[in-house]
Symmetry: C2
Subunit: 203 residues, 2 copies
Amino acid sequence: MRTFIVKANKAHTKADFKLRDLPGTSGRIDLLCRVLNSAFLLSYSFRKNVRVWLSLYGPPNPPKAIRFEGQEMKPKTLNPDELSTAKLIIKALKVGETLREPSKEVQVLPGIYVSNMTFEDIVRRTLKSSTLYYLHEEGRPIGRVNFSQNVAFILGDHEGLTPEDETFLEGIAEKVSIGRKSYLASHVVAYVNIFLDSLTPPP
Amino acid sequence: MRTFIVKANKAHTKADFKLRDLPGTSGRIDLLCRVLNSAFLLSYSFRKNVRVWLSLYGPPNPPKAIRFEGQEMKPKTLNPDELSTAKLIIKALKVGETLREPSKEVQVLPGIYVSNMTFEDIVRRTLKSSTLYYLHEEGRPIGRVNFSQNVAFILGDHEGLTPEDETFLEGIAEKVSIGRKSYLASHVVAYVNIFLDSLTPPP
């Protein structure tokens, strides 16, 4: 089982942005769409062993968390293009608007859930079943890590995690690196997935 | 220097498609946009050592070739989101509409050129300066290849290359694999770029 947790500090927590200008109006929801593409999609196939948490902290109602559960999602729910994926996020944010409870999850579509969970809530819940890694260019080279069967990777958005996030992760998530350059989140997820596929057995 | 050549057998060769529905109306220009993203973009940076050829064979006027030259492009020309990249392709196709010569290239923007070159023209031109590889799940594992400083990779679109294309490539492009699964073209390009970055010296 592979979990990817993306902390998106500017991503809007209400569907108040323009689908035709995601980079300029949504706090970079477009980036999250590409991460979902990289996390789940194969050519004519779908990774059921993947879970993605989007942890949204932008205006106007942070935090919002959207969970995508590969084992429950219908494969045709997620398509490769950005706009159709953005529509799923918009749907989740609309369902999430009336949520008041701090940790209750509401189903948006099969395998897609929205809640007011914090980044810390998501990390603590993930720690119960997975070994946690923080993808960072200064981490241990991914080729030298012995991965268990349940792995979870934390990524930042285009601005990275905050110092507070990094302090929270100290001691609970090992820093792992796929290279010394700073790569786009969606490229990192694509690389990690293909790298994990090469392991015996793959997580 | 890294070259990526994408043969897109269904990609429209005229800007007759809807920007809001690229997957349904363009012969999968959306896929080409994601390949360009993976080929050129780093976090807050741009790969100048990359060239991408899009070889378009869809209706109504095949073939069209669009060349993206990293060393000449202005970094802000290419943005991460699909729609802004699709607009670059649309601009190139519009410039290409009046082209009659079989191999003349016309500049669309700095570093972006359109022509009526065939897939074979592109491959022959690339062979003059680069070692050619065909990315294919049954190829030699990428970790076992000794790459030279000028490398070129050929990829198919969502339907792959035709048997005729494969016959043409026999003997001139070694099959190389990044894994036994069938991956999306944009994920393959992201993986290959990050893998090549790890080599000493990187191509």
